[in-house]
Symmetry: C2
Subunit: 529 residues, 2 copies
């Protein structure tokens, strides 16, 4: 088996010795899930039962739509892919092959929106972990893409497979994380052209949740699709009817889709897998300094990518992705969890719904530490994501330093904040039992409800039980070491890794995955995947 | 002048030497407000332009209303004040003098609600600081009531006048704090029966903002009312027509108004000053373990207090106060910023609006430190307060340890979070200039907007500029000491105290206040105020 904890050793080198997955069973499992286990919410689909917040009036939504149509019809988008240019040309777009500029009209956009699904599912190898994208459903994902990793004991370091494995184990362990993002960190000790195989393998063996595949080029996308198909025992055709993976297509804003991302997008659509087209529109840098302008640009770029998915395969599952924040205008540094970012998270949901598309959003933070700033910035943007009815809340746990570091402590803090939000979204019950008039009439004035039957029947489950929040009084807390939330988070991620149980996988499936990887490593060699 | 910085010395002892307020002028002021000054939002009325969130259906609101009427009509409220009992009896309530139980029917509630104002103002000595309570206006206050004070350099200590003065100076300095709560800490070195005079004097001389007066008995309330009247050069009759102070009446839940609070409430109403009737309904302890039951109890207790204000003086300004959170059912410890607390903050706004009453709410935290937990708990409950259309967001800055400590660092963190919220609430402009189509057409694909005229014309004010958030990259941040948000907050409150400018007060007014205090100290002697 791949020993993901052994530092500096590529998974590949260990593959010949792979046999049985390391996992706990029976009594050992029980002992780890006993009363001392970290409390957490059960696995459940999260729904937002309340109407989305409307930051934009209907007229403002239309004005932004109109501006984005103006961008698509008059300015166009650069697409650095001959195959994509050809698809657009066939569909009647105005294509300038010299500049690779593509102008599409609103008719083509409307045509594409006729075939986009308003909701769909992603089914991983464990069908109980199926995620629903669309409507009022919400899914939270592990952070994706940081080059670095940080925890309070070992400090900051470059991404590596051991940390990668531990971080996806944490994502597996906590029920509120519904999906693994694309490479929670870059395992830089592995060859760049094949490390995606190792990370897919880690996602598939250490977790049984849906995951994001890299769409930097056709090969990486197809490898992820193929390995998900193997893990579910499906052919690629069968997987196309019941998708299992998604990718994010990060537009090179302003107005450019590069070759690798365009190829990745088309490959995902070709095989019926999900794409979230996500312009990264940092106001003042890659987009206008104004929210209206940035949203117009975001809308044009997102819809352009949506059109491309439908040109490849009508009905292909696709999300409206939005990641609009601002920069620090003194330094150009990106900022997240700002008021502007939060507003964009809400308003972008209004745009996504105008087109009946599932909505991907993100709660980020620029903080360099898992501190109070990390908490308030992520919480701000998370509220924006929730009030905007985000269906896929990407980078929801572990994001630090504006996405440059995956933080173990921030992961735990984010899980706590996500669980707070999940519980907030549970509707208030009002009925005879909940109104408690019997108890209210019985408890004397100035008395207390601790001993009431109404209380005793309900107290064990009445309130959300936090994993990280500390409710001790000051003296007890100080006596116990006076640890702040960040220090307590260190204890918790270590405990969660101890409690973690690797999900079982049939040996035959594992071997088929390994065989696929071996074949692909040979094909790739030192070339491009 | 009172030297509030001198530890352990009662203001009283220093009074004979008082002459001129210590404040900076002219050049010195300019130097302190130069480019290096802490950035902050300008003084403004905060409005929430969006509809309030509806966590309860209209039917659920009515069911809670009905349950609260059942409580008032059948169970009654204990009122430990002969004067209040007499008022209720005259109004037709069923009064049991042996148990001091008062049952009122819905007709009496409806009658009272005919004369309650749906909005009103509190005008402090500086009319520019007038606060508007009602409608979609939001006002944030300094924490009130903690016995302790904490900062990261000096640690935790009992409340004292020097810290009191520094904390109200901070509240004065930051524009987003609209009101001073009741005793930001208890100055325990001063005599308990007259320290309210010293704290009112500090509020009036170190700030020019509205403040909360203690309503623990008639004397403390009337002293606050009188000193506000003196500071504005008004008679008590004139002040009644244009109120300047408020109090919070904390009900002794369940269903009890003690003598001191009832007297305080009646005194405030008698003199036309504002009262926020606020049951402190900790679910599972002082109220049912269920949210519906706690809200029904809260509603009954709040409306009961509202009725009493109108029996004293029809038209007296009164707020619907709500402070419903839960306890840790394992220890009984109070918790704040929980999902349940956040839901209560939203739902209580629905109840307040059912009665057209201004709404007082609170964003608390149970954290023992100014850490990530402090941030996420306060941010959770703050969103509840905002989405619930709180008009008075009480304890909004500096609250720590469930209200047992006023924290200097948490104050700064809270100011940052409040400012984030204020900026979030600024509507998105969508017009030709904001849509930026000229710039969008001009910037090449893959280019950037930094140098665009559209950007240059707007960048200085386009985005919220934080005071505490750090947006440096990791290397620069680490090089500068790698301070987390809490450590940076220490620097900021110290800098804010340096920048603080004491608002001018006419010497005649100050002398009148001092004379009032001297007279009252003699009257009080060692007895009750």
């Amino acid at each position: 088996m791949t020993d993901f904890r052994q530092p500096g050793v590529p998974a590949r080198a260990l593959m010949p010795t792979m046999s049985e997955p390391r996992r706990r069973r029976g009594a050992e499992r029980t002992s780890h899930r006993g009363p001392a286990a970290i409390p957490q919410l059960p696995l459940r689909c999260v729904e937002n039962p309340y109407p989305p917040m409307q930051l934009l009036s209907a007229d403002q939504v239309e004005a932004i739509h109109e501006a984005s149509m103006h961008i698509l019809e008059n300015f166009g988008i650069e697409v650095m892919s001959p195959r994509a240019l050809s698809l657009f040309e066939k569909a009647g777009a105005e294509v300038d092959h010299a500049t690779q500029n593509v102008r599409i009209d609103r008719g083509l956009v409307a045509e594409a929106l006729k075939t986009t699904p308003s909701s769909y599912t992603l089914t991983p190898r464990n069908p109980a972990r199926t995620i629903h994208l669309g409507g009022n459903r919400i899914n939270f994902t592990l952070v994706a893409g940081p080059p670095n990793v940080h925890d309070m004991e070992r400090g900051r370091r470059a991404g590596n497979l051991r940390d990668y494995a531990d971080l996806v184990r944490l994502a597996q362990h906590f029920n509120c994380i519904h999906m693994i993002g694309n490479q929670v960190c870059a395992p830089i000790e592995l060859p760049a052209n094949s490390r995606h195989l190792d990370t897919y393998f880690a996602n598939l063996t250490l977790t049984d949740k849906a995951f994001h595949v890299s769409a930097i080029g056709r090969g990486r996308a197809l490898d992820g699709i193929s390995m998900m198909a193997i893990s579910r025992g499906l052919t690629l055709d069968q997987l196309a009817e019941d998708p299992g993976v998604t990718t994010i297509i990060s537009v090179n804003s302003p107005r450019r889709f590069d070759d690798m991302m365009a190829e990745g997008l088309m490959t995902m659509a070709e095989f019926g897998q999900s794409v979230a087209v996500t312009p990264f529109t940092l106001m003042g840098a890659m987009s206008p300094v104004t929210l209206a302008g940035a949203l117009a640009q975001q809308n044009a770029e997102a819809l352009f990518g949506v059109v491309l998915t439908q040109l490849v395969r009508p009905g292909a599952p696709v999300m409206y992705g939005a990641f609009t924040s601002n920069v620090d205008m003194k330094s150009g540094a990106p900022a997240f969890g700002t008021p502007e970012n939060t507003k964009a998270n809400v308003a972008s949901g209004q745009l996504a719904r105008r087109y009946s598309l599932p909505y991907r959003t993100t709660p980020g933070s620029a903080s360099n530490a898992a501190d109070a700033q990390g908490a308030w910035e992520t919480m701000m943007a998370l509220w924006g994501a929730i009030l905007g009815h985000g269906n896929l809340v990407y980078h929801a746990a572990g994001w630090q330093e504006g996405g440059l570091t995956a933080s173990f402590e921030k992961f735990i803090i984010d899980v706590e904040m996500i669980q707070h939000m999940m519980e907030f979204l549970r509707p208030i019950d009002v009925n005879e039992g909940e109104l408690a008039l019997d108890a209210l009439g019985r408890v004397p004035t100035g008395g207390h409800f601790f001993g009431e039957p109404h209380t005793l029947e309900r107290y064990a489950t009445a309130f959300y039980q936090p994993l990280l929040s500390n409710w001790q009084n000051y003296e007890a807390w100080a006596e116990a070491g006076g640890l702040d939330a960040t220090a307590r988070a260190t204890r918790l991620w270590k405990k969660a890794l101890e409690e973690y149980v690797e999900p079982a996988m049939d040996l035959a499936v594992r071997e088929e995955l390994e065989a696929y990887m071996a074949k692909r490593r040979e094909e790739i060699g030192q070339g491009e995947p």
